[in-house]
């Protein structure tokens, strides 16, 4: 049997090369569009304002007093932990001590994705 004449197959090969490079470029282009969207998603996912707000109220609670029947500090700190867990889905642990005239507050925050630890001194 006569051998197939494949002299011109190089033209088809060039055609294939061009189409494959087109596909590759299209994939790169498709992925590059999500750059802006992923940035906005990352910004929304990081709980910057949640952490700032809960840190502010924890430090305010450390300076409340626990005198008499209105146990201000105990109530407020209990409410912070309960409400933070039920409404913001985050566990908040904190404690404070006073050493040599300085007040130290230890804060731990975890919302399942982000963990935040801080020692605040005053």
């Amino acid at each position: 049997m006569a051998r197939l004449n494949d002299d011109a197959q190089w033209i088809v090969l060039m055609g294939f090369v061009v189409s494959f490079s087109l596909f590759f470029l299209a994939i790169v282009l498709n992925q590059s569009v999500v750059v802006g969207q992923t940035t906005a998603e990352a910004v929304s996912e990081f709980p910057k304002d949640d952490i700032r707000s809960v840190r502010d109220v924890i430090i305010q609670s450390v300076f409340l007093d626990d005198s008499g029947t209105t146990l201000n500090r105990t109530h407020v700190q209990n409410e912070i932990q309960r409400l933070s867990l039920s409404r913001q889905g985050s566990t908040v642990n904190f404690s404070s001590n006073a050493i040599a005239g300085y007040t130290n507050v230890y804060i731990h925050y975890n919302n399942g994705v982000t963990i935040y630890n801080e020692t605040w001194t005053y």
Partner: protein, 364 residues
């Protein structure tokens, strides 16, 4: 033997031509896929958000080893990053000195200085940053006119103002600043206790120590205005009434400045920087007075931001105003009662207040 005739078959040419034409057409078609889709355009909002955070929540930075705040440092090369917030603890509370300097069109080269210090990124973004304070009729703006399509963020902010004090007739009488002997020269002293202002508690008891930076008085870098009024009213600072005061009865002889170094008793004389020459305004005049000058009713001392910057931050500052009398008489004098204290007591000093505002950043 090799064929050297160099004749191509026509069919080969036709096939190759069709292929080449199709290839050229696709090559011109592909760049239109990228039209309007350059990688810079999809992240305009991200850049605007980042610039908004840098301006509203960061206090700015200078090169290491520089202790002067960026808004007062003369050489732009050593300012690494702009930031309008008062401090890291007070996001969204902006400092008026920083706002003034940031929007000053003569201090910075537009747009490169802003791109390197606030916008960042390799691509030369165009931008427009504007700030509006409630109650003011003009906006602060820097940047180009907005196009149709741009990345945008809006931040709500408050702007921290300066403090001032008005020592009126009632205060003079209640503190006993008029209870003196008859002398020809009366000295009234105002004390600015810098370590109390910078480290002391603003409220007693302490309520929210994180937010205190937004209400702090910084004597080294804030504008301080001291108004002494009602000197011709009754009850007169001079217990023996001489109403109304004749023009040359009383004059202001001098205003001297002292600092009290820690651990040392006694005061050290301070000469203010020669560029701050005008700070004395007498009797409501808008032209600064050269001393000695006659005084009838009121006196204003206006110290520009940075006036006391040469004084170490923990040294108390004393401002001594000397009044000369034509004949011996009582007048405003703090020798017996002690100096007037410029502190966080609202009766003494009108504390810095925060004014509402909004800031918009557009990037394209």
């Amino acid at each position: 033997m090799a064929d050297e005739s160099a004749i191509l078959s026509v069919d080969f040419l036709v096939g190759f031509t069709i292929f080449l034409l199709a290839f050229i057409w696709i090559a011109t078609l592909v760049p239109s896929l990228f039209l309007g889709l350059s990688s810079q355009s999809v992240d305009f909002d991200a850049v605007a958000y980042r610039t908004g955070v840098i301006l509203a929540e960061d206090p700015g930075a200078t090169s290491p080893n520089i202790t002067i705040p960026w808004e007062f440092y003369g050489d732009p090369r050593f300012v690494e990053r702009f930031g309008l917030a008062v401090s890291k603890n007070t996001p969204n509370v902006l400092d008026i000195n920083k706002v003034n300097r940031f929007f000053c069109s003569t201090a910075w080269v537009y747009p490169n200085d802003y791109r390197q210090r606030a916008i960042f990124g390799d691509f030369p973004y165009q931008f427009n940053i504007s700030l509006k304070v409630t109650g003011e009729d003009h906006n602060w703006t820097i940047g180009d006119v907005l196009p149709d399509n741009f990345g945008y963020i809006r931040r709500d902010i408050k702007v921290k103002d300066w403090s001032n004090t008005t020592i009126g007739n009632a205060l003079i009488v209640s503190r006993g600043y008029n209870n003196t002997e008859n002398v020809t020269s009366n000295v009234f002293s105002i004390e600015i206790n810098s370590s109390l202002l910078s480290k002391g508690n603003i409220s007693n008891p302490v309520i929210d120590p994180i937010r205190e930076d937004g209400y702090r008085i910084n004597p080294n870098w804030d504008r301080i205005i001291i108004n002494i009024t009602g000197l011709s009213q009754s009850p007169h600072p001079r217990l023996s009434p001489l109403l109304p005061a004749s023009p040359s009865d009383v004059n202001i002889t001098s205003v001297f400045f002292y600092r009290h170094p820690t651990g040392i008793s006694g005061l050290v004389n301070v000469t203010p920087d020669p560029k701050y020459t005008f700070y004395t305004y007498i009797d409501g005049s808008s032209i600064p007075a050269t001393l000695p000058a006659d005084l009838r009713d009121n006196l204003s001392l206006m110290f520009d931001p940075g006036f006391f910057s040469g004084i170490p931050p923990d040294n108390s500052i004393y401002i001594n105003v000397t009044f000369g009398m034509k004949s011996p008489m009582q007048f405003l004098n703090s020798s017996l009662s002690g100096p007037f204290e410029y502190d966080y007591n609202p009766t003494n000093v009108t504390q810095p207040s925060l004014k509402d505002g909004v800031m918009e950043v557009a990037v394209w």
